[in-house]
């Protein structure tokens, strides 16, 4: 038997502001539930969700077991009635006519005579029979209130009493003492007949007396929920209202009396309150989509998801996705995982890097890896709304290869109606200029957004008079257009196109014995484009999404020896075409299915044009290093979100993939979350991972003999397989304090990694190749505490441990850092100032026998000043302690860029709502 009204995990956001957060409430037949809380706590919003007037941003609201939005308007009106706090009825209906309006939903099944009788019954019930013929506008406020109650009764008359829902917004607000008591007696009686009643009420004593259960709201969150007499205590209410109360339990009364004594705002408190007054900017959107492909609140998501919003990225002084994520606990963005092979920002999660962490843009896999991993520093922040990180093999929706996790870079339609824009301009050390902007136009469901970004920076030289660069000179521009169009009721089309142009100019120098020092310029030009078209059809809570995407990366790397005709240019082309269809089917209150199928074709080719001296003459030759190779794969997946009860979610899923080259694999995954109480959420997951070797690991050839190394692909590679488990407990100790403790372990077979041992000793050239490492493990844990002191000061402290083991060779995996400690502080001061500070310490890492990557500590500080309500000027520095790599030290993986200072301006413009 489902409850008459079931609200589960309701979140409501309007214009980026959270009005109701994570609220769950069941309303059973026969009970009265009181909602109490201070002004602006979200009571009315909650009532509007319960009435079906507005749909929650996330979460589900069900009437008699069926989603409120799935009912027809009149079907809904037959089962639930709403009594407004005030009505602006100003025309001279007769009272009886007003009550008759309640019969409107019955018009197809009732006749005038029955309607009349129902109206009179309702009037008799509220004791207004004698006023049946009076003109409504001549009634007193209290009488009007009762007329509307009668109207609601007439509306529910004839509907099945059991499970009919009555929603009342402060029904006693305009009633005198006697009528207030009478009204609540009446409401109590209505519930006793089997109706379910939800009543927003200010009088705490009346609430304690007449309600079975109570919910205490503050700032859109339930501070407490339960039996009315247990919940309505001076402690809870004091917290909700900022007031001191006494509760009198007089044995002569069957109910407690609650009286306010005084407001808690003394002079000192008032001064503090000014310093700590609520600051909307601290309450950021808390929705995530990665786990299930539909919005869930962070707190309720079955899969633990970390979010870095655009604003947070800005606060971290980030210019690209890599910098935005560096410093996120449990996520390691390595300045260079493979030393010379250059991955300025390769991500590592749970000890996995390269292709084991899927990098997605709006759910679509990003291609264009360099040396095996997506370089996050080449993903500009233009148009990015937030970045979500899911750790561990948890969700079945994205690819079996996501052993370490998923990074989802999310763009979002503009929030604001009409034209809006955001822009950020910045100057940074090394003559770096950054410009990011988005201009958008929205009219109802149609919107279009243009994103643009530009970054230029000087090269970072390693050894000063020499031109050798640690970081090349960068010119990066990106542009994109996104548009959403409603097609028809429930259908919408999303179109995206994006271009990124990257121009890097680096240089190296090398002493060749007997010939002197050669300087080689290493320019690199990358063009990246992505096209996406997706159509979504919605039917109630279910949806069908069909998408087509195409991405291409053309990359040319040159080695141009200065003052010499000898040079070479390596060109690579990579393209991914994919199609995907996903069905989200909300079967009922408890089961939501996600089914999907995806097909993709990836092409890769590489050629080398070189000018060389052959037998004393300059010869130009072109070598096809990797013949155009196509890899196709198809995948089918299914994931069930099953909520056997309100607090338990089990999410089993499976993904079957077929690769043209490696055959098929089935990767089962299971995630579960339990809300042990309103404050504690426990999550666990178990999953299988499978990763086929990439085209490059199989066929890549990279000859840098003159630098002393060569990399060769290994066509014999076998796919990797893994099992992983994850667990996490999130405990909201107080509304202001959140504690998270988690752990994970992964067992990998046939892990593909560089084989660093020289294959041909004695030639002076080190040959690197890829090899399957028989068995490897990674395990670890993290603990994090976030707390707010007042609402202007928030802070986080975290620690993360990572252990790795190559079981075949009996040593750790290289370049995995065992300990990370993190502390951050954000303080909003009066007059629009904001100070953000971050401190991070990273321990030593094993690289190779006798070689260790040194530990380092970074400190970032940023001070911002709001200019008006829309703009902000800021100044800050990252890596203030100047932890930087020593070019002469082998295995040093400290940040490439040392201390960086910046100064900028950001603005956000939208038409006032």
């Amino acid at each position: 038997m489902s409850a008459a009204l079931e609200l589960t995990g309701i979140c409501v956001e309007r214009g980026g502001r959270s009005l109701v957060r994570e609220l769950s409430l069941d309303l059973d037949a026969g009970e009265v539930v009181a909602v109490v809380g201070p002004n602006g706590a979200g009571k009315s919003t909650l009532l509007r969700v319960a009435s079906g007037e507005i749909a929650p941003t996330s979460g589900s609201a069900r009437l008699s077991g069926r989603a409120l939005q799935d009912w027809t308007a009149s079907g809904r009106a037959l089962r639930r009635a709403v009594v407004p706090q005030t009505s602006d009825l100003s025309v001279g209906f007769e009272v009886r006519d007003v009550v008759l309006l309640g019969r409107l939903p019955h018009r197809d099944r009732s006749n005038a005579r029955d309607d009349e009788a129902a109206a009179l019954r309702a009037l008799a019930r509220v004791g207004l029979t004698h006023l049946a013929q009076r003109t409504y506008t001549t009634l007193s406020g209290g009488e009007r209130q009762r007329v509307h109650l009668a109207r609601a009764l007439a509306q529910l008359d004839g509907a099945e009493r059991r499970g009919a829902v009555l929603l009342l917004d402060e029904p006693t607000a305009s009633l005198d003492l006697a009528h207030a008591c009478a009204a609540l007696e009446l409401i109590r009686g209505l519930a006793d007949e089997g109706r379910a009643v939800l009543v927003v009420i200010h009088d705490l004593t009346l609430a304690a007396r007449y309600a079975d259960r109570a919910v205490v709201l503050r700032d859109g969150q339930a501070l407490a929920q339960g039996a009315a007499r247990e919940v309505l205590t001076p402690e809870v209410l004091g917290r909700a209202y900022d007031v001191e109360l006494v509760r009198i339990d007089d044995p002569r009364l069957s109910f407690p009396v609650l009286l306010p004594v005084r407001a808690r705002l003394g002079a000192a408190v008032a001064a503090l309150a000014l310093l700590c007054a609520p600051d909307a900017a601290h309450a950021e959107p808390e929705l995530v989509v990665t786990g299930t492909r539909s919005p869930e609140s962070t707190q309720r998501a079955t899969v633990a998801t970390r979010v870095v919003t655009r604003k947070e990225a800005e606060r971290r002084g980030a210019t690209d996705v890599g910098e935005a994520l560096s410093g996120e606990l449990g996520v390691q963005v390595n300045s260079s995982a493979y030393d010379y092979l250059g991955n300025p920002a390769a991500i590592q999660i749970q000890g996995f890097d390269a292709d084991r962490v899927l990098v997605l843009e709006d759910g679509e896999r990003v291609i264009g890896d360099v040396g095996g991993a997506i370089d996050l520093s080449r993903l500009p922040l233009a148009g990015v709304q937030r970045i979500e990180v899911v750790t561990g093999p948890t969700s079945s929706l994205y690819g079996a290869s996501a052993i370490g996790g998923v990074v989802n870079v999310i763009t979002a339609p503009p929030d604001a109606e009409g034209p809006s824009a955001s822009a950020r301009g910045e100057w940074r050390s090394r003559n770096t200029w950054l410009g990011l902007g988005t201009a958008a136009l929205r009219a109802d469901e149609s919107w279009i957004a243009l994103d643009g970004g530009y970054l230029r920076s000087d090269a970072l030289r390693l050894r000063s008079p020499l031109p050798d660069t640690a970081l090349p000179e960068v010119h990066r521009s990106s542009g994109g257009v996104r548009a959403g169009l409603p097609l028809f009721a429930g259908g919408s089309l999303l179109l995206k196109a994006k271009i990124v142009h990257d121009d890097l100019r680096g240089a190296t120098s090398q002493v060749v014995p007997g010939l002197g020092r050669y300087t080689t310029e290493t320019p690199e030009t990358t063009r990246r484009y992505a096209l996406y078209a997706g159509e979504t059809l919605r039917l109630g809570a279910s949806s069908l999404r069909i998408s087509l995407a195409r991405q291409g990366v053309d990359d040319a790397t040159g080695d141009d020896r200065v003052a010499s005709p000898l040079d070479e240019t390596r060109s690579r082309a990579q393209a991914l075409t994919s199609g995907e269809a996903t069905v989200t089917w909300a079967q009922d209150a408890h089961c939501t299915w996600v089914f999907g199928a995806r097909g993709e074709v990836e092409r890769f080719s590489q050629s080398l044009r070189r000018t060389a001296l052959v037998l004393g003459t300059l010869t130009q030759s072109e070598v096809v290093e990797v013949a155009p190779t196509s890899l196709g794969s198809a995948a089918a997946y299914a994931q069930l979100g099953w909520r056997p009860s309100r607090d338990v979610t089990v999410m089993p899923g499976a993904r079957a993939e077929h690769h043209t080259r490696y055959g098929s694999v089935v990767a089962p995954r299971l995630a579960a979350s339990v809300r042990a109480s309103d404050a504690v959420t426990v999550r666990a997951s178990l999953g299988r991972g499978f990763r086929a070797p990439s085209a490059k690991e199989l066929g890549f050839f990279f000859d840098h003999s003159f630098l002393g190394y060569r990399v060769e692909g290994n066509p014999e590679l076998r796919p990797e397989t893994s099992w992983g488990v994850n667990g996490e407990v999130a405990w909201r100790v107080e509304p202001e304090v959140l504690v998270r403790v988690g752990g994970f372990a992964n067992w990998v077979h046939d892990l593909i990694d560089f084989d660093l041992a020289p294959v041909q000793p004695g030639t002076g050239v080190t040959d690197y190749t890829y090899a399957n490492i028989g068995k490897a493990r990674t395990w670890g844990g993290e603990a994090q505490v976030r707390f707010a002191l007042g609402s202007r000061l928030s802070s986080e402290v975290g620690y993360c441990f990572l252990g790795t083991r190559d079981d075949t060779l009996g040593r750790p995996l290289p370049s995995r850092r065992p300990h990370t400690v993190l502390a951050g502080l954000r303080w909003s001061l009066p007059a629009g100032f904001e100070i953000v500070g971050r401190w991070r310490a990273v321990s030593e890492a094993w690289v190779a026998e006798g070689v260790y990557a040194p530990p380092f500590t970074t400190v970032d500080v940023r001070v911002a000043k709001a200019l008006g309500s829309n703009a902000q000027a800021y100044v800050g520095g990252t890596n203030l302690l100047d932890a930087a790599r020593d070019p002469l030290r082998a295995g040093d993986q400290r940040p490439l860029a040392g201390r960086t200072l910046y100064l900028g301006l950001s603005a956000e413009l939208a038409r006032e709502p």
């Binding site: 209906f93 309006l101 509306q155 109606e417």
Partner: protein, 362 residues
């Protein structure tokens, strides 16, 4: 409980019956007024025709044995007077019905068919035709055909524009419609002002006459052309009467009662624009009927739209037909613009009702 309720029903019955009866009486009186207006309208005019002749023509027209009228009188009756009356009935009922539904939709007693720019749009389009088609010395026949088409188009385009613009506003939808309607009307009126500067004497006169309205363009084809839109209004508007009643509680409360307010608003506005556009094209803008008739009836009947719609249609038709009769004879052989007459006839009645209102309301 049930017994008590039944007892109460019995007790309350006499008074309730009285109220129902009042509605019935008022409706009957309106119907009677319409019948009177129609009959006298056929008889009154520059060429007086006796009631007996009218009856004879009617009997003859039905193919029953009766002496035919002389050709001149029959022409006046069948080709001039009857279509004029029919058009008066159609236009009068539409204007009053639309006025009543607009007042309900906007929950504003001052709403009328011109509220959201329909009338101004039609007028602007008509004046454009008068001024520019006139300059090019277009044949008069073409001008006469073009005028209604343009007015119809003008009303529809303005309404669509108002609707689309209002959708983009973040205000409460009804208020947004009102304000955008007001703004567009102002623009249209300003444009008409500009037009009146470039118009010559004759055109200026045509413009003024069009603004005050007249039924003298009536003919059977015109009546047929208006009929579909008018029929649609007659049939569809009364069906939303109870939903409009619910809307008086407020949009949110109407939604709680299962009313799709957005669809309701769209339907009422679309029907109104269609019917008003179709009618005013032929008659010019006839003011006052749409404002006063429903308002007067609301004073008598209360705000329930069911009774209000029927009464408005009858009384609106009666008012327009009667006003037209008066317009035809007062300064015969010339004609008064009908808008002048509706205002002169309607306003005093309206004022009288208004002064009685206090007694009625209590």
């Amino acid at each position: 409980m049930t017994d008590r309720a039944l007892a109460l029903t019995d007790a309350a019955r006499p008074r309730i019956r009285g109220r129902r009866e009042r509605a019935r009486w008022v409706t009957a009186v309106c119907a009677l007024l319409l019948a009177l207006a129609v009959v006298s309208g056929t008889a009154i005019g520059p060429v007086p025709i006796s009631l007996a002749d009218v009856l004879r023509a009617l009997v003859h027209g039905l193919g029953l044995p009766a002496a035919a009228l002389d050709a001149g009188t029959e022409h006046v009756l069948v080709a001039l007077r009857l279509p004029r009356i029919a058009l008066g009935v159609l236009v009068g009922s539409v204007l009053a019905l639309v006025g009543a539904s607009m007042q309900g939709l906007f929950r504003n007693a001052l709403a009328d068919p011109g509220l959201i720019g329909m009338a101004s749009g039609a007028a602007l389009a008509a004046d454009l035709v008068i001024v520019f088609a006139g300059h090019h010395a277009a044949p008069r026949g073409l001008l006469l055909g073009l005028l209604p088409a343009a007015a119809f188009g003008g009303a529809l385009v303005t309404t669509l524009l108002v609707w689309q613009l209002a959708r983009r506003s973040r205000r409460e939808p009804t208020l947004a419609l009102l304000l955008t309607g007001f703004a567009l009307s102002a623009i249209a009126n300003a444009s008409i002002g500009v037009l009146s500067l470039v118009a010559d004497e004759g055109q200026l006169r045509s413009m003024t006459l069009w603004l005050l309205g007249s039924l003298n363009g009536a003919s059977w084809p015109v009546v047929l052309a208006c009929l579909p839109a008018v029929l649609a209004t007659w049939i569809a508007l009364p069906r939303v009467a109870r939903q409009l009643d619910a809307l008086q509680l407020g949009e949110r409360e109407a939604g709680h009662l299962g009313v799709d307010v957005h669809a309701l608003r769209r339907r009422v506005i679309a029907l109104s624009a269609l019917a008003v556009g179709a009618c005013v094209g032929f008659t010019g803008a006839i003011g006052f009927v749409g404002l006063i008739v429903p308002h007067a009836l609301r004073l008598l009947l209360g705000p329930s739209h069911g009774a209000l719609f029927l009464g408005s249609a009858l009384l609106g038709a009666a008012l327009l037909v009667a006003s037209d009769s008066i317009a035809r004879v007062v300064i015969a052989p010339a004609e008064l613009p009908i808008g002048v007459v509706t205002a002169l006839v309607g306003a005093p009645v309206f004022l009288a009702l208004l002064l009685r209102q206090e007694r009625l309301a209590l």
